[in-house]
Amino acid sequence: MSTLLNISGLSWKVLNKTILQDINFTVSKGEVIGIIGPNGAGKTSLLRCIINQANILASVSVSGSVHLKNRLITQFSAKEIAQHFALVMQKNDSIFALSVQDVMKMGLLPHKSLFSLDSDYDKSQIELALSKVGLSHALESLFNQLSGGEQQRVLIARALVQASQILILDEPTNHLDVYYQHQVLQLVNKLNITVIMTVHDLNLASLYCQRLLLLNKGKLICDGSPKEVLAPEQLSKIFGLPCQQNVDAITGATQVSFYLEESCMQYSAISEPLSE
């Protein structure tokens, strides 16, 4: 697999607080990578550096480099970055009554010149992208009236219209119930493009990502398969809770369970009489 992204020695300090420290990893074409870690670990900051948001990498507080296809990301214009990366955030809404079609048309922006109008080809691309996320019927619907899961699917479809090579998702399953969490991540998996996403839920990350990056206090602690990264000793140390690794009987995926010792004792107190 060819290397798309190369992050090397990336560090970021703000007012003596370490946001990221010496991050090194590469991303190959077609990989689905999950960035996991506790709150404040630097997951979203890492995503912001990768896409050089607000020209963050030009800041004196940032060192190291991000190369996209062997070219420094700082040498790309904002428009070129948008042609390579599509970003789907936790939550997007608008005070105005935007239709799904209006939101989808935004994805055309990085490929359009000034004054340009929509062509028939653009319309067919929008329809194709919506059909891929199973929302062909929603073209004229109001974006704000869709469910959280449907909104995320529209934004993923917008990313497809954007025709970028790397899809960046920042906590795509936040605000979603269990059904939509699985629906959205399953969809992301089926797209066959390179995906980098931050995920809070370790079991979801394990189920849908081929590779995980575990961050803690701005450092990359572990980079590997879900089985390697979700090692109980490592997770217990980082999350401060006892942890156990299992293999899910149905999916075969590595899963982890955390428990408080108190709740464990309470559980055994309830379950013991039953077992007798």
């Binding site: 948001q53 990366f85 809404d93 608008s94 005070i95 105005f96 209006d102 048309k105 935004m106 922006l109």
Partner: protein, 328 residues
């Protein structure tokens, strides 16, 4: 032709018909056949010819471009700040113009024909510069609106202070000017406003996709390659120039920039191209007819146009509030 194109085409026809009909209203009795004869250059009545070409047409054309300009400025500001209550007046533009006009009135007794609009224009630009400077110092461009409200009150208080100690005749002149009127406009005013309007529309058409991208948040727009702060600053500059020019020639005409985009969103759509074209057309129709009311509802007198737009605007907003209460 789809529904939106049909609506916009119908509105464009309505603008032309409104402009033609508005020319027939006024103290001098001019009917439509006389109007058509004068327009094609075969006018028998020389007085009617002079009234039409030197009084009515400049006035109707200024009402047309002023209505378009104020409505477009409101629409641009609302979409770029994602705030449906954003209006050129909230950015201190009118207060700045008022301060400029007050200083010109108090300090210059003569040559006010040129000095008054020029001072108003400089005052409006001055207020925008302060607003942008404050937002830049705070490093929060999204606080432009709050900075605008603060600057607006500050400049209005300075104006009132000057007027309180000013000569009564000059004070009266400023107060009447602030109420807004198209009674003294000339064809040259139309050319100036139309030129700025054309520049504003070309810029907005060029950048319509970038402005649309802002509708789903700054971060989303930035991820699509938009330089959010630069775009917002450019749009504010355009709106300031447009509003300042209109206010300089026509005085204070409130609520158009707030009310018209609101109607267009309900009827035509929320994205920039639809909103700008719709606002320009409905804004033109609105101000043409408000000016007709202003000059024909009282015998031998005119009602300041700003009073009518404010009255209609406030009733409109009460209606909107009532309707939204009924829906919820």
């Amino acid at each position: 032709m789809n529904k939106v194109s049909t609506s916009l085409f119908a509105l464009a026809i309505l603008v032309i018909l409104s402009a033609l009909a508005a020319i027939t209203f006024g103290p001098a009795d001019i009917d439509s056949s006389q109007l058509m004869a004068c327009l094609i250059g075969s006018c028998q009545n020389q007085i009617a010819n002079i009234v039409i070409w030197q009084v009515r047409i400049p006035r109707v054309l200024v009402a047309l471009v002023a209505g378009m300009g104020l409505a477009i400025a409101g629409a641009i500001l609302q979409n770029t700040t994602r705030n449906p209550l954003a209006d050129p007046y909230l950015f201190g533009i009118v207060s700045g113009a008022g301060l400029g006009a007050t200083i010109a009135n108090i300090s210059l007794a003569d040559n006010l024909t040129i000095a008054l609009p020029l001072a108003a224009f400089l005052g409006a630009l001055f207020s925008v510069i302060i607003v942008v400077f404050i937002a830049k110092v705070l490093q929060r461009m999204e606080q432009l609106l709050l900075a605008g409200v603060a600057v607006s009150f500050m400049l209005a208080s300075i104006t009132q202070f000057i007027l309180y100690f000013g000569e009564p005749f000059a004070t009266n002149r400023v107060i009447f000017w602030l109420m807004g009127s198209l009674a003294r406009v000339e064809m040259s005013n139309f050319y100036v406003i139309a030129s700025i309007l054309l520049i504003a529309m070309i810029t907005v058409f060029a950048l319509h996709r970038q402005i649309d991208a802002l509708l789903l948040g700054d971060e989303s727009a930035a991820s699509l390659g938009v330089d959010v702060d630069k775009l917002r600053l450019l749009m504010l500059g355009i709106c300031a120039a447009l509003t300042a020019t209109i206010v300089a020639y026509c005085g204070g005409i409130g609520f158009v920039g707030l009310m018209i985009p609101h109607i267009v969103r309900q009827l035509i759509g929320v994205t920039t191209l639809k909103l700008i074209i719709g606002s320009a057309l409905i804004g033109a129709i609105f101000l043409i007819w408000v000016d007709v009311i202003a000059r024909s509802s009282l015998p031998h007198a005119e009602i300041p146009i700003g009073i009518i737009t404010s009255a209609l605007g406030s009733i409109f907003f009460l209606f909107i509030m009532y309707r939204s209460r009924a829906i919820t």
